[in-house]
Symmetry: C2
Subunit: 346 residues, 2 copies
């Protein structure tokens, strides 16, 4: 069995520590990847600390993985040694399931998450990208366009697709007014992607502290949600509002910013339910919706789109021994805009 | 000024009483209607009792109006004396407004409600259908197909369009699984309409007491929501779930009954906000939406559809002096399925 080095959470309350473990033996349809960079997603913290209640330890987090192919199984046709590849939030889905829907596999029950889950064999724990190698079925490996640097491309595998999918599904494009709520790891990708799709983009952020960045990344307008005037000025303005904030906020106020038939799409998941009043929904046939990552097919489409438009994340690269500090800084929103672990420092 | 007889609420806490008032002088583009029947909608009670906080007294409720044309202004081309006509929830909208949208006028800011509002002149109070006549601009008068009895057609003007519009907007039809939550005045119309559109229809009602009616009206399946098994059996089942219940219920449980990309559409408005968890939205790209009546154009389309399919409401006709009793019975859900006032008894 191939041996991997990584960083793991060993229980909900301890910092992550260096961890050596076995990767599974590659099969004929597997791709072996030397991981070069791994992004830090807020959901890594939720899971490392068991905030969603289904964590298994030891856990090697990381589902924003960029690396280079080092070996391929004999049935693999799409990849060869040396290719730049990525792995996102899942590494298997309901294979053989009658209802398997390639456009929506991320919502199907048989999904196998990249970490904190078990492989399709029902027993082998999956481990993520805070490590130096991974073995993944060809069908779940993504091709990273050659013009994108691997470090800044890594977070596209989660932050990128998390915004790309709802922007596409709700048809962001020319003539559409899109608001991105939250200017963090997810939000700044929403700005870049919606702008590249041709939509008119407004950032709604707590303060104006990142306004200059927002406008540089493609926003047309930038408003502070701490200013009550914002909600008067922008009432009834948007076709689509993507909420990247998982802190408890008043969703009703944001629903009021939608046009008739507008949609507010939640991609950040607050820990507790949020009180929703029927009036803002009913008075404008508005919708409150959710969206979660994207299918493998759509993730590849997103990477190709990013390749064509030269889009990557804004990142701060860290050493592996800085992971625990980075977690604290993520919780304080003290990152512009995504931490990426340089796996060479493991 | 034409004199009208009716029943009015005089303040939030008193029963409705007989009331005589002046209707406005008809203009060249007005239709004068002898009201024959007026349905009782739950929202009449909310407004008569000022439960939404914007009631003006005296108030003649009623926005499910069916009658016969008795006079037309010289510019009126669509109606003549003797025609069967209806008036619904609004009698004017943003005329001259740059953004007037005939498909969505019910969501526009300039809407003038049939009662508890003021006419476009900004001062004349509007009064509704619990009365023997009304003067309405031609553009807000609906034609009731000749094969539909006026008494049972009256509630189509609110209950009918309130269900028809979301069923059409969310594309109920062959191959679609539609759930109607609540088997009351709104819900039973949802069953009839969704069935006529060709959808597979499931009723979700607190108990099975109205199951026989539901199946007779067109439901394919009928489940009790008081049985926890219902939520297991039906998990992930529906493309569209229309919630006609305005009592506080756990929306999250119903969101779990939707398929991927399914929509739950609220047409009953609970008084207080309902806690909504992001998980059921995010885990299946589901939507929680609202819908409110329909445009004049769509209301006419609905009436024509009902004419073609012979659809009317199930009603219990009452005398005018039974209005206050009927209100109490509505609050106890003791009506199958809509009260209609026989205006001849005024």
């Amino acid at each position: 069995m191939p041996i991997a080095k990584g960083y793991a959470a060993t229980d909900a309350s301890q910092p992550l520590v260096p961890f050596t473990f076995e990767r599974r033996e590659p099969n004929a349809d597997d791709v072996v990847i030397a991981i070069k960079y791994s992004g830090i997603c807020h959901s890594d913290i939720h899971q490392a600390r068991n905030e969603w209640g289904f964590s298994k330890y030891p856990m090697v987090p990381g589902h924003e993985i960029a690396g280079v192919v080092t070996a391929v199984g004999e049935n693999v046709t799409k990849f060869k040694v040396g290719d730049h590849v990525g792995v996102g939030c899942f590494v298997d889905s309901c294979v053989g399931c009658a209802t398997r829907d390639l456009d929506n596999e991320q919502y199907m029950p048989g999904l196998v998450q990249t970490y904190n889950d078990v492989e399709a064999d029902g027993k082998t724990p999956t481990h993520g990208g805070y490590s130096d190698s991974i073995v993944v079925k060809e069908g779940y490996v993504l091709s990273i366009p050659g013009n994108l640097p691997l470090d800044a491309a890594a977070p596209l595998l989660c932050a990128g697709i998390t915004l790309y999918s709802p922007l596409r599904h709700w048809k962001a494009g020319p003539g559409k007014k899109v608001a991105i709520l939250g200017m963090g790891g997810l939000g700044h990708m929403g700005v870049k992607l919606a702008h590249a799709m041709g939509a008119h983009v407004t950032v709604l952020s707590q303060t104006l502290s990142k306004k200059e960045d927002g406008l540089k990344l493609g926003a047309d307008e930038y408003y502070a949600t701490s200013d009550p005037e914002t909600f008067k000025t922008l009432a009834g303005s948007f076709d689509l509002l993507i909420c990247t904030v998982s802190a408890p906020i008043d969703w009703n106020a944001y629903l009021g910013l939608l046009k008739v038939d507008g949609s507010m799409v939640v991609v950040g998941v607050p820990e507790h339910p949020v009180p929703v009043h029927a009036f803002p929904l009913v008075m404008g046939r508005r919708s409150l919706s959710g969206s979660m990552i994207g299918s493998i097919k759509e993730t590849q489409e997103m990477l190709d789109f990013c390749g064509q438009h030269g889009i990557v994340c804004e990142i701060e690269t860290i050493r592996a021994d800085q992971i625990n500090d980075a977690y604290e800084r993520v919780l304080k929103s003290d990152v512009r805009y995504r931490f990426v672990i340089d796996i060479a420092t493991l």
